[in-house]
Amino acid sequence: MFESVFKGINIAEFTIFGLGPVTGKFFSHYGATVVRVESSLRPDPTRMWPPFAKDKPGLNRGTFWAHMNTSKRSVCLNLKHPKSASVTKRLIEWSDIIIENFTPGVAERWGLSYEELKKIKPEIIMIRISNLGHTGPHLTQRGTGSSLQGLAGFTNLTGWSDRDPAFPYGAISDQYPPPLAAASAVAALLYRRRTGEGQYIDLSQLECSIPFLGPHILDYVVNGRISGRMGNRSLCAAPHGAYRCKGDDRWCAIAVFTEEEWGNFCKALGNPPWTMEPRFREFRQRKENEDELDKLVEEWTLQKDAEEVMTQMQAAGVAAGVVENPKDMLSDPQLIHRNHFPKVNHPEIGSYVARNDAFRFSRTQSYIKRAPCLGEDNEIIYKGHLGISEEEYVNLILEGVLE
């Protein structure tokens, strides 16, 4: 049975790109009414990001946008229109939480500062996410996670020690703010339930990311050391890497930490004579002779399918995993078991894969529905939820307020 955790919780999202929308998804998947407030005059650029169904671009055809906005509603509202204020006011009165992630200053221009929101609804919870926070000399720095991950320190840690950094796919620093913002928002709901008070929460992408490199940073603070790119190597395991397997661009990761695991590893290979050589006897020697070790491991993996290497290693008690490409991901038996990529149907896209969260509840089901088309829910939200009369609704349309 579908039990709706956030039934009756209303959220208005004044959001763009990824950080705000992915935060809202934690609520829309569990029964809150989450409304993306958009404008057909200035649509979210990610609506026009590929991939598109049949490779044909269109505001409602991009699956990435559709992926980040599952189970939500979409309304159009031209916040620059002088008559939009009365609609915005009713939207705020209706909302429990406002999520906002424009460049600092933008929401203020629309009359959406916390001070203004509080006047309309004192117990409102406002979650703001920006690059560098809502105070400080660089607050208005624009940017995307793909470059901010460089500032946070992730890019310098990606790649090979003998080369320039490699670009970490996507944006690592974009990953952290949504779960942290959602956790903060639920904590704020619990606090409001207890005290009746709302609050203002200011999250910076940079500050949300840095703690995830905590020990790396403390190593510099305390020991003056800056550890750098190591390819796939580890300070406490050898072999530790991605080894080429049979086929085109097929790889399997293998990691051997303990002497027991080394014994298991050698056994899985059938104890070939080289594994008995003194240069590989203990961790210290294996680490010293790692280049040769890696070559010998790869000679073995090259004879096998990546899946076979993984299965054989794991059965022997050695950590290993196929380096899955995007195709593999969709047929990964564990991800299928967890229903990580549920299929949903969309009127313009057709069938596409959405994404489940990284957790499953014993009682509560996640509720994953397709993303809305631009402005699809104007009528139900404005008339049904905000109680705008038919006459006013028609006038708002005619005057261009709901564009």
């Binding site: 560098l132 956790a183 703690p211 957790f359």
Partner: protein
């Protein structure tokens, strides 16, 4: 915000970030360590490179604001004590092998009988059920099986992982949201529930649109070195400069028009914008259709400009002009960021036993309902709060406590 809630944190390095986040949101979090200390304390780096359980920087980084008690969970008395603690707990976080807590009689069904409102969160490599549930899952295997590793690295070498473990930190963040959603539900229904977090699923989110390209178009995104990945045009993201690198992406149209024009004007002010660059109408440039050789020409000019400047010069100029660009920083530059300093992000914490003061990253959350950037106490020493909790909260007598100590239970 969460000051009325109690969390018991049984986790090792796989789940510790979950408890840390709950502590930062104000919850009362108690780490339950085995006698002798948590395995997290064996994780380096160490203060002064001296391997000792009270000198682990991993421990110090991820256990701030938590209390510590020691307890031998597998002993009969240990189980009884744990059950008494669960009576008054709201959330239990654990990251043992799937099935371990059940095998010692402390799994969710047993804890639920003691306290029907308790929320139990398990953080594991692949989840509690399914074909990979017993697979070993250090960071590199999660990076591989989540699909993220395949997308990173140079085209002529193996895929690479980030040279710092990311999977379990992110799983911890997911565990924090999951446990709070369950807690909110508990406040509505009176019933707790079990939350099963998979690090593989968490890390799979890092692949963004890559699986969607396969799903909808049958295209495979691959790793692409210094360039932005994907299957369309190749555009550079990482640029050499005098003393390091900056990261900057050329976007066309609405997203990049103004930025590219600003950059061209800046280059022109130093005589480094060629006629080709100046002739581009950035507002209408469509990166999806522009020929690759045009991109190369643009990149050549921009690259020459960056290589004449330092990271700091480029960053300062970019901030002034509203250009979306970042230097590639290490902890050294982060520690001297004027923005983080102005926000009061870094926190100095005294460590008398180590004879030093350590600068820590501050709280991720700034809330009008909480004191600014309060991190709570430093990470505790082993069993620091045994007395406070066993005597103060559970009402054990001094002799009972010393008896338990003798038996190696606490």
């Amino acid at each position: 915000m969460l000051s009325t809630y109690r969390v018991l944190d049984l986790s090792d390095e796989k789940g510790t970030v979950c408890g840390q986040i709950l502590a930062q949101l104000g919850a009362d979090v108690t780490k339950i360590e085995p006698p002798g200390g948590s395995p997290e304390r064996l994780k380096g780096p160490f203060v002064g490179d001296i391997n000792h359980p009270e000198r682990s920087l991993f421990w110090l980084a991820y256990n701030r604001g938590k209390k510590s008690i020691t307890l031998h969970l597998e002993s009969a008395e240990g189980k009884e004590i744990f059950k008494r603690l669960v009576l008054n707990a709201d959330i239990v976080v654990e990251s043992f092998q799937p099935g371990y807590l059940d095998s010692i009689g402390l799994g969710y069904p047993a804890l639920r009988e003691i306290n029907p409102g308790v929320v139990v969160v398990s953080i594991s490599p692949f989840g509690q059920t399914g074909p990979y549930r017993n697979f070993k899952g250090p960071d590199i295997t999660i990076d591989a099986l989540s699909g993220y590793m395949y997308l990173c690295g140079d085209t002529d070498r193996a895929p690479v992982r980030v040279s710092y473990p990311l999977a379990y930190g992110y799983a911890g963040a997911q565990g924090a949201v999951g446990s709070l959603i369950a807690l909110y539900d508990r406040e509505m229904t009176g019933e707790g529930q079990y939350v099963d977090v998979s690090a593989q699923e968490g890390m799979a989110e890092f692949t963004l649109m890559a699986p969607l390209f396969w799903d909808i178009l049958g295209k495979i995104n691959t790793r692409s070195g210094h360039f932005r990945g994907g299957t369309s045009r190749k555009t550079r993201e990482i640029w050499s400069c005098k003393d390091g690198w900056v990261t900057f992406g050329i976007y066309g149209g609405q997203l990049g028009g103004r930025v590219n024009r600003e950059l061209t004007m800046w280059m022109d002010s130093e005589g480094l914008a060629d006629e080709f660059l100046k002739s581009i109408d950035w507002e209408t440039l469509d990166m999806a259709t522009v020929p690759q050789e045009h991109i190369s020409k643009i990149e050549e000019a921009i690259g020459a400009f960056f290589s004449r400047h330092t990271m700091a010069e480029i960053y300062e100029g970019a901030l002034k002009r509203g250009i979306n660009l970042c230097p590639i920083w290490t902890p050294r530059e982060l520690l001297s960021s004027v923005q983080l300093e102005a926000r009061g992000f870094w926190r100095q914490v005294e460590h008398t036993e180590l004879g030093m003061s350590i600068t820590y990253p501050g709280n991720f959350v700034r809330s009008s309902a909480m004191p600014p950037s309060d991190m709570g106490e430093r990470a505790p020493s082993i069993g620091k709060h045994n007395d406070e909790i066993y005597r103060g909260k559970l009402g054990l007598s001094v002799s009972e406590i010393s008896h338990l100590k003798e038996k190696g239970i606490i």
